[in-house]
């Protein structure tokens, strides 16, 4: 499992926000993206996950490697915890649903409908979905939002186990997960900036006067 990002530029709403981003990530490693709000963490993660095309640069990784998780967990309120996970297990063709329920400490809630879970429990279920996919590269956008301290620890444990199994994780998060092995990438130097008075390179209408 090797992810290599070379000279990547990515855009949000047609405006390039990040450019010349390069990093590598191999099995067993985690990389945490840092930077102020709006710098483009979500955009970068969605680009790596293949949800939007890169403006420039290259992303190379084995096919079907990414498991993506964002702010929204993709849970169906009227399905039970077990049903939600069984669905994703069937989509990814794995039989890891019971394993994921075990790992994220959801056994007691397995037959409860997702709409009756607390915010933190929902989040745990959303993260359990990652375990179900069986994919090596986790791309996580603010995975710890609405988790309490115990759940954060549980999540960090799950990530650590994933890394120990040779997986990798790329995530944007504000809090310290206590992952000693995680590297941090500050995105501030990659902010796409146009020198004062110049036209941005990606503006197709640059130079139109009247």
């Amino acid at each position: 499992m090797d992810l290599t990002v070379t000279n990547l530029a990515c855009a949000r709403g047609g405006v390039t926000v990040l450019e010349r981003v390069s990093f590598g990530l191999s099995g067993g490693a985690a990389l945490i993206l840092r930077g102020p709000n709006g710098i483009g963490k979500t955009t970068l993660l969605r680009t790596v996950a293949g949800l939007q095309p890169a403006v420039a640069g290259e992303i190379s990784m084995p096919p079907e490697a990414v498991a993506y998780a964002a702010h929204a967990d993709g849970l169906k309120a009227t399905l039970t915890v077990a049903e939600n996970l069984a669905f994703w297990a069937a989509i990814y063709g794995t039989d890891r649903a019971p394993h994921a329920i075990q790992r994220m400490n959801l056994a007691a809630l397995a037959d409860r409908q997702a709409q009756n879970l607390s915010a933190g429990q929902k989040r745990r279920l959303g993260l359990a979905r990652l375990l179900v996919t069986g994919r090596p590269l986790w791309v996580l956008d603010e995975p710890t939002v609405s988790l309490d301290a115990a759940s954060v620890a549980l999540f960090a444990e799950a990530v650590r186990a994933h890394l120990a199994e040779g997986g990798a994780a790329l995530m944007a998060t504000h809090i310290d997960l206590g992952l000693a092995e995680a590297e941090v990438l500050d995105l501030a130097p990659y902010r796409a900036e146009t020198p004062a008075g110049a036209e941005p390179a990606d503006d197709p209408f640059a130079g139109v006067t009247a």
């Binding site: 949800l51 990414v66 169906k76 989509i91 979905r129």
Partner: protein, 218 residues
Amino acid sequence: MIALLLRDLRLALRAGGGFGLGLAFFLLVAVLVPLGVGPEPATLAKIAPGILWVGALLACLLSLDRIFALDHEDGSLDLLATAPIPLEGVVAVKACAHWIVTGLPLTLVSPLLGLLMNLPAEGYPLLLASLAIGTPALSVIGTFGAALTVGLKRGGLLLSLLVLPLYVPTLVFGAEAVRRGALGMDVATPFLLLGGITAGVAALLPFASAAAVRINLR
């Protein structure tokens, strides 16, 4: 893919309302039209095929915006787009699920409404057959409209505006098959054309729908 179909069907059954709403609407049309045009049996018999087809079409339209909206809101669509099944497949399965919860029940109750509309006896098998062949096209075309408007906050009205012109050929051939049959004319041609449209859109339109979903997820 089967898992996705089963999930969508299960959600439609559990959500309550969504399932029966189209049927109730269809029934209402068949009740309101005679109240509007008068109880004259000959008039009703004459307009029955068209009214039933238009009713089925509008009932189908009613639930189109739910095809992707819920999955988009809760993030499932993002996750499905990164899943190992092709998005074209996802879109086709969603159209199929939509047909099973709307088009199929509409088809099954249509003879009952034909009774209310005084449809001539020879029209019943044709009505059933034309709806069975034509309503899948309505779901597939509707899925394309839903895919175009998936990111929009108030996409409902726009969705109708986009989809209704696309429904014209299906409506014409479907209603024409029943109308001609009720008059004792040849029905092979409209049925072949209707079947051709359903087969054509089912084979090709999922590609356009998947492209539209991808554009909207960007």
